[in-house]
Each structure stands twice: as structure tokens, then as C-alpha cells.
């Protein structure tokens, strides 16, 4: 459903992405692993149409349509949900307002996400429904960022490092959440540095190296046994 083909991206003179390509299929969870500074976040932001680098090339195709040059809101309205790095919840809005402010009906007949369903999914958020988002803990903010993206009723979820800065116990909550979402017919492109999360969730894992090159691709089981790939590209 999502095809990223030969993306080139520069910031000033730095060549961040040099020919990055990947694909996400229907109902598939693809995990993009890589160390800091390899261009993972840049790639997600380019797919989401945010703040494009000065120069870029390549094409992004979504369900047969070229969405490379669309504005970020147009891309979101086509069913691509976005969970930004660092959560970025709307701090001066309450939990409920965070969910309602970007709510949108689903394109097809899928079971729609609404505030009640998000609260069913994250009971913790219901307890804090009238709190301002900036008073939430890191884990609660991550739940809210995911719930907020679900309220746009996406068919693909872009998630940029949901595990970042979370305590191990909250990591478990997020992992269970993503596992549940995976079973609900949603495709996910998960960008991570956390190997455990990637191994637990990904149908397919991609390793990204310098300049956004995809240097390895395979299943979690295959990655577990490939010690050479792990040490070269992830340093583990």
C-alpha cells in the first residue's frame, strides 16, 4: 500500500538520505531499525509530508497515488496516521480535547475509532480525561499520542520511536498496545532503536545504515540469528 522509492534528501549540504526505498503491505508491520543519525526520522517526516528538506528526489506512492508533493494534512487525510518522535501532545489541551481536535471519520466501513474506543484501549487515559496533556507522565503522553493518531482513523500508522524515554514497565504496555493494533487490520511502519520491541512486533525488519541505505531485510527470527548484521548495524 505504501511504496517509498529512491528518496534523496539534503539538509543544507548534508546528504541525509541517498536512495532510500521500502514498502509496507496491507496488514503488515514493518520495523525500521537503525542507530541515531541514520535518517530514520527524516524518512518518516518526508513520508508524512512535514517540513520537506530543501532538496529532495524520489517518489512516495500510497495506494497507487503519487503523494510525494502533497501537504502533510492531505497525506493525513488519505489515511496515514502519525505518531511523532517525542510524542508532541498538545500540552494546553485536555486529554479528551487532544483526541477530539483531530478526529476524523474513517474512509471505508472499518470499525471507527472514537474517544470511547480509545479509552477502552487505554483505560489510563480515561482516568485522566480532563487533565491537561502537559501534566501527563511520559508513558501517558505516549498513549495519548497513539490514541490521537488512531482518532484520524488511519489505515497506516507511522510511529517514530514510541519507546523513547519510557520505563521498562511502560515499554511493556506500549508493546502490548502495538500487538493489539497489529491484530486489528492496521498497517504500521515502526521506526525504532529498541531491538526487543522490533523483534516482538515486526513482520519484517529493515536495518538502516548511513545515508538512509537499507542494508538488511528479513524476519525477526532471521535477525536474531544474524549476529554479523546486529553488530555491524546496531552495535549489539
Amino acid at each position: 500500500m505504501l511504496q517509498v522509492d529512491n528518496i534523496q534528501a539534503f539538509y543544507e549540504t548534508a546528504h541525509i538520505l541517498d536512495g532510500t526505498s521500502l514498502e509496507v503491505g496491507n496488514d503488515e508491520v514493518v520495523t525500521l531499525l537503525g542507530r541515531n543519525g541514520m535518517g530514520k526520522t527524516t524518512l518518516v517526516r518526508i513520508i508524512a509530508g512535514i517540513d520537506p528538506p530543501q532538496q529532495r528526489g524520489g517518489t512516495i506512492t500510497w495506494e497507487g497515488e503519487d503523494i510525494t508533493d502533497l501537504e502533510s494534512y492531505e497525506i493525513a487525510r488519505r489515511g496515514i496516521g502519525y505518531v511523532p518522535q517525542g510524542r508532541r501532545v498538545f500540552g494546553s489541551l485536555t486529554v479528551v480535547e487532544n483526541l477530539e481536535v483531530i478526529a476524523r471519520a474513517p474512509a471505508d466501513g472499518a470499525e471507527p475509532w472514537d474517544v470511547d474506543r480509545v479509552f477502552e484501549f487505554f483505560p489510563r487515559l480515561q482516568e485522566r480525561r480532563t487533565s491537561l496533556a502537559r501534566t501527563l507522565s511520559g508513558g501517558e503522553q505516549q498513549m495519548l499520542a497513539i490514541g490521537r493518531a488512531l482518532m484520524t482513523n488511519p489505515t497506516l500508522l507511522l510511529m517514530d520511536e514510541p519507546s523513547e524515554g519510557l520505563a521498562p514497565i511502560l515499554l511493556g504496555v506500549i508493546r502490548d498496545t502495538l500487538a493489539a493494533l497489529k491484530g486489528s487490520g492496521l498497517s504500521i511502519l515502526l521506526v525504532e532503536q529498541n531491538l526487543g520491541l522490533a523483534l516482538a512486533l515486526g513482520d519484517r525488519i529493515l536495518l538502516m545504515s548511513e545515508h538512509g541505505k537499507i542494508v538488511w531485510e528479513g524476519t525477526p527470527d532471521k535477525l536474531k540469528d544474524d549476529h554479523a548484521a546486529l553488530s555491524t548495524h546496531l552495535g549489539v
Binding site: 508524512a48 493525513a76 481536535v101 483531530i102
Partner: protein
Amino acid sequence: MEHSAERVVDTVKADRRRVLIITALVAIPLIAWTLTQMSLLSFGTQILNGLSFGAVLFFLASGFTMIFGLLRIANLAHGGFYLMGGYVGITTTLVTGQFWLGLIAGGLAIMVLGVFAERVLLRRIRGLVKPEVLLTIGLTFVIGDLSLAMWGGDPRTVPLPGYLKGPIQIGDSFFYPKYRVFVLGLAIVLAAILFYIDRRTKIGAIVRAGVDDRETVAALGININAVFTIAFMFGAFIAGMSGVIGAGFLALLPGQDFEILLFALVVVIIGGLGSLEGAVLGAAVVGLIDSFAKALVPELSFFTLFAPMAIILMIRPNGLLGKAP
């Protein structure tokens, strides 16, 4: 536990703010009163003068602060919007004989001007602070000169309908201009509308979310450029109306654009940039200070305007109700 502690801190902060607001609003008149021992009647007059001038400033500052919060543009053409809106209102009122039509025409004319400024001029230089400042100042000069060419340099006021003319009697011996009371009421109505939109409507929530994080709002499917245009239009509309309202008791003349802009800037700096409550508080504070200072120490009126601002900025760099960026 951690959460309830945070919540308590939040409530305490909110309470401290409320105390701050009330103290400021009560302290200024009381200090003035004790210093001068004015009579109760002239004391009341000064309070109403201050609040009604503050009402005009609120009209101007609320749009300014909203545009700044959302678009991060300090729209220095806001004073020009005020001046030209006032002139358009005067002319419309003279031609039609209807004050209300003048009020709306002043707002609409500036709304059109605002859309032009935002879509055609400012959009090209989005995010570039210096060009934005220069452009909006330049726009003020252009608006000022156009106004001078079209309406001349003599002080102008808007003709008021009969029912807004003359004094209103309160008690046995207290008389006060009806029109200023009307302006005060209008500002309260506007504040109520703005707070309702801000707190209770979807567009208000979108604007608040946009103030927090424009990029993420857009990436979640909101056409933020359209929201920017709507906010700019709305801010320009109230700025134009404020010119007509102000022209009822402050004469319009060339140079007023910069003078009123200065006041509006002090209002939003004292209140806190991007904060609606801040605009209410700042407008009341500045209006009261200006009124008492002009009555008591007219030769120091600029000092009394800027000294409190400097002190507040030293204690609270983001203004009384501003958030840390």
C-alpha cells in the same frame, strides 16, 4: 501519586495567577487614590475612563495576541488596521447615517486587507522574523499614507447615534458618557465570545493545538494554512472594528496608528503574548495606569506606561499570564 502532586501544583499556580490578577486590578486604583486623595466622584470617573480605554485596547490586543500565538507573527500593521478601519467606519457612518453599519464596514474592510496581507504578502516570508517585522511596519506606513491622502490630517471622530450620546446618570450626582459605558459593555461581550470560541468550539481547540504545535496539527490532517488565514481575518476584523469604536471618543488622526500600536504592544507584553486572559488583564492594567497617570502626572505619562512593563518583564519575562515558550 506523582500525578496528583502535579495536579495540585497546577491548581496552586492557577490560584496564584488569579490572586495576581485581582491584586493588580485593585492595587492600581487604590495606590492612585491614596496618593492623591481624589474625591470619590473623580476616582470613579478615572476608573471608568481607564476601563473604557482598556476596552478599546482589548479589541486591538486580542487579535494581535491570537495572530502572534498561532502564526508567530508580530503583526505591527495592527495599528494601521485600527486607523484605516476607523476612517472607513467614519465615512460609512456619514454616508449611511448608521453607526452599526460603520462598525461592520470598518471591520470588513480591514478583514479584506488582512487576507491580502496574510495570503499575498506574509505567506511568502513565513517564519522569517526580520522580513515579517519590516513588512508589517512597511504596511503601516503605506496604510498611514493612504489614509492621509484619502481622509486628510485633521482629527476625525465617528458621529454617534442619539441613543449613545450624552451622559448616563448613576446615583444622584454621578454622570458619565453613555458611549464609554457602551464600549465597555461591547468589550465584555467580545471577551465572552472569544472565550467561548476558545474553550468550547472545535475551531478554538484547533487554534490552541496550533499554538502548541503547528507542525503536528497539520500532520494529523488539519489544514493549518486555512486556520492561519481564518485567524488573521478574524484578528484584522476586530482591529478594524476597534478603530471605529475608538473613533467614538479618541479622535483619529495621522500618527495614531503607531501610538495605539504601542499601547497594544504594552498590553500583550504585560499580559503575556498569545494569551487571551493576558489580553484582558493587560488591557485593564494599561487602561487604568494610563487614565490615572494622565489625571495625576500627565507629564510622566510615557514613563508610567513603560516603567510597569519593564518591572513586570524583570519579574515575569513571559508576561503576567504568558507561558514559557
